[in-house]
């Protein structure tokens, strides 16, 4: 019986780690949605680009490798805004979403071409792999990355919350997310708040790239694709209208997936997606505006 308790703690650790990473992704997606009303399906490819950068700079000092990962991801994020999001402003949500599908496929195909230059598919990002080692906490093995992930997530979220609450650009971004038209009427510079959201969202994608390559150093063109899909689901289930409900949604779906996976009998774990998505449907039916969106109706009527 004693092993059950320890397995539970381990699972709980994993659940927190997964939830933390998904929460970071949710913030990145939610911030851009807030100011642009655009669901960026290509968010995962920012992370993928960061992961490839880490792989290709594996020989470099770790710090340099991580810095270049952030540089590449933020640059790509800004380029996406400039070349794709900006011309799409004002388009219908469906068109914006489908365009980001196309961007996502474009970047995956590009990655495939670059990746295959050496004749094999996939690259190894090993510089940060040591974080994957386990440390023993009170007899329970927890991987270091779990602590790092939770630490990075909490740190990043607190920092972002402070910037949003205390600075002028934060105030302007919140105003733009809540009522863009009125914000512009007051002189809030649209391009500036959008650039802010896009850069922060890129920084978060960079951080996620580092954390995910620790867990899975084998980088392929579809790196982070599945995670992004799950986070998008979580964000809507949590309530995409607000940053904090979106973030909680991302955290919750990561956390719950790990727990459900552990709770299912071993021969039934293959049905994990069905269980999780059935839960998603139930929650959406009960709370269409978002699980955490108390007392609010859906502002996102049409997509």
């Amino acid at each position: 019986m004693s092993t059950i308790a320890s397995v539970d703690l381990q699972t709980l650790g994993d659940a927190f780690g997964q939830g933390a990473i998904y929460a970071l992704m949710a913030v990145g997606i939610g911030l851009v949605f807030g100011v642009l009303r655009l669901v960026n399906f290509a968010y995962g490819q920012l992370i993928m680009a960061g992961a490839y950068t880490l792989a290709y700079t594996s020989g470099w000092p770790v710090a340099a490798s991580i810095v270049s990962c952030f540089a590449v991801v933020v640059t790509l994020s800004l380029a996406m805004d400039r070349l794709v999001f900006r011309p799409l402003r004002g388009s219908s949500p469906a068109v914006m979403l489908v365009t980001t599908f196309a961007v996502s496929f474009f970047l995956q195909a590009l990655a495939l071409i670059i990746d295959l230059r050496d004749g094999t598919l996939g690259q190894i990002a090993s510089s940060v792999a040591p974080l994957n080692q386990a440390v023993s906490v009170g007899g329970v093995d927890v991987r270091k990355v779990t602590f790092v992930a939770v630490g990075v997530a909490v740190g990043a979220l607190v920092a972002l919350a402070l910037v949003l609450a205390r600075t002028t650009i934060g105030l302007h971004t919140r105003a733009a997310a809540s009522d863009f038209r009125t914000a512009r009427l007051l002189g809030v510079r649209a391009n500036r708040v959008i650039a802010f959201a896009v850069v922060v969202s890129g920084l978060l994608a960079g951080a996620v790239a580092v954390l995910l390559t620790v867990q899975n150093p084998f980088v392929q063109p579809d790196f982070a694709l599945e995670d992004t899909i799950i986070v998008l689901v979580g964000v809507v289930v949590g309530g995409i209208d607000r940053l904090w409900t979106a973030t909680l949604g991302g955290f919750a779906i990561g956390f719950v997936s790990v727990l459900v996976n552990a709770a299912l009998p071993t021969d039934k774990t293959v049905f994990l997606p069905s269980v999780v998505y059935a839960l998603v449907i139930v929650v959406l039916l009960l709370r269409p505006a978002g699980l955490f969106a108390w007392g609010r109706r859906a502002a996102v009527e049409r997509v």
């Binding site: 002028t168 105030l171 302007h172 919140r174 105003a175 809540s178 009522d179 038209r181 009125t182 914000a183 512009r184 009427l185 007051l186 002189g187 809030v188 510079r189 649209a190």
Partner: protein, 238 residues
């Protein structure tokens, strides 16, 4: 040539798709004046203000600020050029504090400021200073309107556009904001006031234009304030 008016509309037409909501509208607001714009619902008053702010393009004609055309400028650029709109329905940020709402008004401010940047709002409406940490959504309707006006004023605009500021307010609150308009004019801010309270507007403004069905019907002076028949006739003409 005489000095250009603070704000001039020169034969503007504004359309929604193929339907024109305002046609051939010409009016000018001199520096330090209050000009009224009244008319029944759907007359095109808000449309006119939106066109001035650059939220809607003028299909024809020119809008000029101090003699300079505002054509193709974005709303945010026009706000930073010195025009502030207090929109219909106030549009305050209910989840934000009073102070945060006011600080948003600073986004359009052109010069650096000394002292309390929010001073212009607090001097006119002391209650805002008292409630600065409260949630804006928790204020009464009259206080929210004061907040919306204060938010526009902290940008120190040359021209203040107001869209039905008295709508839905208790009589006492209406008195308060009309009093405020006089004080705002005294510090040299020019006002274009869109209202439904015809009589009070005519009495307050240097000139009041009556807009009906998107066209200018008549222009009234303060002396016409008591002449209710004339005002009613202007409303009904169409």
């Amino acid at each position: 040539m005489p000095e250009a008016a603070a704000l001039e509309l020169d034969g503007i037409e504004v359309r929604y798709g193929s339907v024109s909501a305002v046609r051939d509208l010409t009016l000018s607001v001199g520096k330090g004046e209050i000009v009224g714009l009244i008319g029944p619902n759907g007359a095109g008053k808000s449309t006119t203000l939106h066109a001035i702010m650059g939220l809607l393009p003028a299909h024809r004609g020119e809008i000029r600020l101090h003699g300079q055309s505002l054509r193709r400028r974005s709303a945010e650029a026009i706000a930073r050029a010195g025009i502030a709109l207090v929109p219909e329905g106030r549009r305050i940020f209910g989840d934000f504090t009073v102070e945060e709402n006011l600080r948003l008004g600073l986004a359009a401010r052109r010069q650096a400021y000394i002292g309390d940047a929010l001073g212009p709002a607090f001097e006119l409406f002391p209650i805002l200073a008292e409630f600065r940490r409260r949630q804006a959504g928790a204020l009464s309707g009259g206080q929210q309107q004061q907040l919306a006006i204060g938010r526009a004023l902290v940008a120190r605009p040359d021209i203040l556009l107001l869209d039905e500021p008295s709508l839905g307010l208790a009589p006492l609150a209406v008195d308060g904001i009309f009093q405020a308009f006089t004080e705002i004019r005294e510090v040299g801010t020019t006002i274009l006031l869109v209202e439904q309270r015809a009589q009070r507007t005519v009495a307050l403004a240097n000139r009041t234009h009556v807009l009906v069905g998107g066209e200018l019907q008549m222009t009234l002076g303060p002396a016409d304030a008591e002449d209710t028949d004339k005002i009613i006739a202007a409303y009904l003409a169409s």
